[in-house]
Structure formats: C-alpha cells, structure tokens
C-alpha cells in the first residue's frame, strides 16, 4: 500500500492565501488612513485592532506546538498520524511572531499610552506600585525573549521530528533514546510556555490595557481560549488534507479525539470565564467590577453574551454527541465557529477596554483577521510541502494507526 506523503500546494489554495493576505494588507492601509492618522482615540483603535489580531493568531498557532509538546510529555501516540500537520501549523509562529513583536514593540516605542496607560504613570500610585512589572524595559525584554524562545524551541522540536525521515526505522534502544530526547525538548518548551502564555504574557500584552485592574485568572483564560482555537485549526487542516486525499491513516477515531479536545476545552474555557466573572460579581468591589461595567451593562453587552453562546452553548450542545464528533461537516462548522468565537472574545478583551463608550466592529477587524488567516494558510502550506506528511519512523506511529476510542 502506498501513501501520498508529499503535499503539493493546490493552485487554488495558494491563490486564496494570497488573496486573503492582500485583503489584510489593504485593510491595514485603509485602517491606517481611516484611524491611524486621526486623534488619539482613533489611533488607539488602529493599534488595538492590530494588537488583538496579531496576538490572537500568534497564540493560536503557538498552541499547536503546545499540543505537540503536551502529547509528547504524556507519551501520547494517537496524534502521530497527523503530527506533521500540527508541526506545519506551528511553523507560522515565525512570521506571525515577528509581526506581533514589531506591533508590540511599536506600541511601547511609539508611546501609545492610550492603549498602555502604564507607559506614562505620572504620579498614579497604583501604576507606580506595579512599575516593577509594567515598565517599558521589562516589556521589551520579556516580549522579545518570549517570541524568540517560542520560535527557537519550536524549531528544535520540528527538527527532531525531521531527523527521522532520513534515519530509517529505529531499533528499540534508539527509539528509547529518541523519545527521551523528545521529552527533554518538549519539557523545555512547556516550561517556557508556562512562564509566558500561561502567566506573564497575557498580563503584559492584554491585561495591562486595563492597567489598574487585575485578575489572576486572566492568563489561564487567554490560554484556554487560544488552545481550543488551536485545536480547531488543527482539525480544519486535518480535514482539508483528508478531503484532498492525503493523510490516509487518519480516520474517524482521530477526528473523534480532536472533537473531544474541542468539546472539553470549550468547557474549560467557560469554567475560567465564569470563575473570573462570578468572583468579581460576588465581591462587587468597584476596582474589580470596572472591567465588566461596560461589557455587561454597557455597549458591549451583546458581544459579551454572544461570546458565551458561541463558545460555550454551541460546542456543549453540538459536540456532545458521539456522532457529531465523527461528522466531517459538523466538525468543520464547529471549528470555524470556535475560531471565530474566540477571535470575538479577543476583540472584546482588547477593544472593549480601549473604546469603552461605543462599539466599532467593521471591515477593518475582519480585513486584518483575513490577512492573518491568509498568512497562516500560506506558511502552513509551505511547511507541509517541505517534509513527508507521515512521521513513519516514529516509535509511536503504529500506535496511532491502530488507535481506537
């Protein structure tokens, strides 16, 4: 039996990724002329849109590498049949990481204090108290370090995986050594991931927009949001490749498990969303409720609750059945819905803090998002074509073929 191991980018796929990237560029230019040159409020809207889009898509593609490392640490074998797909998605951390880095550093160097108030604390006692964490030097160093190490450790994980293509089947001893090496690098990535995405980075990049407010749940909440969207993205690519006639070894069982991941982490996201909301609602302390004031009782009320419906109720009710996790059409629908839903979540996390009095949600948001989608398609397509789609010499590969849920 022969397999189609080599992905060739279809002309249509290439065209669409180019069109989407073009739309993104045009939107950024149009947005710049519409908002970027206006008063401070407009400028904040321009930079805010760039900020939430780039950070969202960066964390989503980075979640793909987190998925690989977490399953590696758990000695998981089931994902091996489509591991190369998640590897290819994580390749997008490089271009999007650079773009996000540029945007984030531009915010600090450009003194966008409409977005990051803490850049100019003045004699604000609360901001001065937080200055040890919220200061430009730390922001610049930590942001650069985060992105560089995600790229470097991710590249190391991908290169370890690539070694197998030329080495041929491993003996038992070689296999044990190989798994050990994988475990070491995966654990290094996970430690860095824990220090950044799961704690400091969302505080620094997103929560510091509301510099007076804080929530210790915030980072977990952001992580859950991007991880579930990351799994949805992997699912989309796996189904796309299957429909193109690749990935013959991936079957309903693997998709069922991806569906379970989407279901479970949608619930996990809701758990964190609710824990953050309820504790603040219950305590009812003004300095904490200020975050929810314009979201629950202000102009963002509709988006705030739509967010809950799309990201909690829909996955809960639709993905609960076994048959829906094995249905390609429903999985594609749910993946798209979940990615859009969490993108909307990021929109309200950032924009609702920047423009508190009225909701602006227009072509600019969608255009920039389309640009990033095109960029992910483009870089994933190239990365997929670079190596075999099957990690066929991996010691756990057989386990994945006979995977049964």
């Amino acid at each position: 039996m022969s397999f189609r191991e080599q992905f060739e980018i279809p002309a249509k796929y290439k065209m669409w990724s180019m069109i989407l990237m073009g739309v993104g560029l045009v939107s950024i230019l149009a947005g710049y002329f519409m908002y970027g040159t206006g008063d401070e409020h407009h400028e904040a809207r321009f930079w805010g849109t760039l900020l939430y889009n780039s950070v969202f898509f960066l964390l989503v593609v980075n979640a793909s590498m987190f998925f690989i490392c977490a399953t590696t640490m758990a000695m998981g074998g089931w994902q091996m049949a489509f591991r190369r797909v998640s590897e290819a998605i994580s390749f997008a951390v490089i271009p999007i990481g650079i773009i996000s880095g540029v945007i984030l550093l531009a915010l600090v160097f450009g003194h966008q204090h409409h977005i990051y108030h803490w850049l100019t604390p003045g004699d604000d006692k609360i901001l001065l108290g937080k200055a040890g964490f919220l200061n430009p030097t730390f922001f610049i160093v930590w942001t650069s370090l985060s992105i560089i190490l995600w790229i470097a450790l991710g590249a190391k994980m991908r290169s370890i995986s690539k070694e197998l293509d030329s080495s041929g089947p491993l003996s038992v001893e070689e296999g044990k050594k190989y798994i050990f090496k994988n475990t070491i690098w995966a654990s290094l990535f996970l430690v860095w991931f824990g220090l950044t995405v799961m704690s400091t980075v969302p505080w620094l990049w997103l929560m510091s927009i509301d510099a007076h407010w804080y929530s210790t749940m915030y980072s977990w909440y952001t992580f859950a949001s991007t991880f579930v969207a990351g799994i949805a993205l992997i699912t989309l690519f796996v189904i796309y490749l299957k429909n193109q006639g690749y990935l013959e070894l991936v079957n309903d069982e693997h998709l069922h498990d991806l569906g379970k991941f989407m279901f479970a982490f949608s619930i996990f996201w809701t758990y964190l969303w609710f824990s953050q909301y309820m504790l603040i609602w219950y305590a009812n302390i003004p300095e904490e409720t200020v975050y929810f004031k314009h979201r629950v009782q202000g102009p963002y009320r509709g988006i705030f609750f739509l967010n809950l419906i799309v990201n909690f109720l829909a996955p809960l009710l639709i993905l609960m059945r076994r048959s829906s996790k094995r249905n390609y059409t429903l999985l594609v629908f749910m993946s798209v819905l979940i990615i859009c839903g969490h993108w909307l979540d990021f929109y309200q996390m950032v924009i609702a803090s920047i423009s508190k009095d009225h909701v602006e949600f227009n072509f600019f948001d969608f255009g920039v998002a389309a640009g990033f989608v095109g960029l992910i398609m483009w870089s994933t397509g190239i990365a997929l074509g670079k190596r075999s789609l099957l990690a066929k010499n991996h010691p756990f590969f057989k386990e994945s073929i006979i995977h049964h849920t």
């Binding site: 609710f274 309820m278 609602w281 009812n284 609960m320 076994r322 049964h404």
Partner: protein, 198 residues
C-alpha cells in the same frame, strides 16, 4: 425469569475467538453473550452489538439535575424564604451556577451508575448464573442460546469446529434473581444444574 438451555463453549485465545464469533453469527446461531476476563477492543463490533444509549440516559439525568437545582433554589429564595444577601437580587443566577453544576454532575453520575448496574444486572443480594468460573480468570466463554430451531449436537459440533476447547450444554436462569451466593437457595440449586458435559 426464564430458564433456558444454552450451549457453552470456552476458548483460550482471542485470535480463535474473533473468527469463531463471526462464524457463529454467520451460521445464524443466537449468541447470548461472550464472557471475557478483560475488555476486548472490537469484540462488541464483531458481536454486532449496537452502541450503548447510556450517554443519552446520562444527558436526561443531567438536565433533570439542572432543573431541580434551578427550580428549588429560585423557589426558596423568591417564594419560600426570601433573604437579602449582600444586596444581591432574589434570582442571582451567577451564584446559582456552581450548585446547578454540581447537581447536574451528581444526578448524571449517580443515575448513570445505577442504570449501568441495572443493564448489567448487578446489585447487592442478587444472583446471576455463571456459565464458567474461569471466565473471570483466563478463558473466553461464548454462550449460545438454544431456540426452538437449534439442534444441540449440531451447535456443539459447530463450536468445536470453530476452535472451542471445552463445550457443554447448560440449562440455566438467563436473568438475575434475588438470592445470595453464600446462602444456597432452592432456585439456584434447581435452575443451574449442569445437564451434560462433553
């Protein structure tokens, strides 16, 4: 309760058991059940068992729990004993959510365990016939139910040809009944006499 006649074959290898189950089904014999010492992946599919509906039952128990929690709490705080707690409204939905969640989980978990025990006919003070003691140790036991059309000898020969090591015919109670194994009762003695060994 129904006392029926069964043809019982024991297998000592999964690799023999799987094709045997297929052959037996193809020949049209009615499989009462296959008893194995450990869960075997794919055996249910080979036996042609349908997917369980236990999760549907679980969903129904779950929404029962949700409804119970929400209705009871809102009745208490609005009608039976309204209290002003920290100036919160009388229907404080966020405060109800954790309890609603717990009750949903409790109802669905307990309900599913009880349903599972009922389906498997497991309960304290209840007995079921054991076709072969080694089904819990190292043998796979296939039990065919004799219908009015089944020829016993033919079925025994068929099982032997399919690779069964030990074959016998048992007349036994198919369902569960009240009684305890440590206190032999009349029904147990009567119902499970092994009629023939071969």
């Amino acid at each position: 309760m129904a006392i029926k006649k069964f043809v019982v074959g024991s297998f000592d290898d999964e690799k023999v058991l799987f094709p045997a189950v297929k052959k037996v089904r193809k020949a049209g014999y009615k499989i009462h059940d296959v008893y194995t010492p450990f869960p075997i992946h794919g055996l249910d599919a080979v036996m042609g068992l349908r997917d369980t509906s236990l999760h549907t039952a679980g969903f129904i128990y779950g929404i029962t729990g949700t409804t119970t929690a929400l209705t009871f709490m809102s009745w208490v705080f609005n009608k039976d004993w309204p209290l002003n707690i920290g100036g919160k409204p009388h229907f404080p939905l966020p405060a109800f959510i954790p309890i609603t969640f717990e009750l949903t989980v409790l109802f669905s978990a307990v309900g599913m365990v009880l349903t599972f025990c009922y389906i498997c006919q497991l309960a304290p003070f209840v007995k079921k016939h054991h076709f072969h003691a080694r089904a819990t140790d190292d043998l796979f036991i296939m039990v065919l139910e004799c219908t009015s059309k089944t020829n016993e000898e033919e079925a025994k020969n068929f099982l032997a040809a399919a690779g069964a090591k030990e074959i016998n015919v048992q007349v036994a109670e198919a369902d569960w009944w009240l009684g305890r194994y440590d206190k032999e009762d009349e029904l147990y003695a009567k119902g499970t006499t092994e009629v023939a060994h071969s």
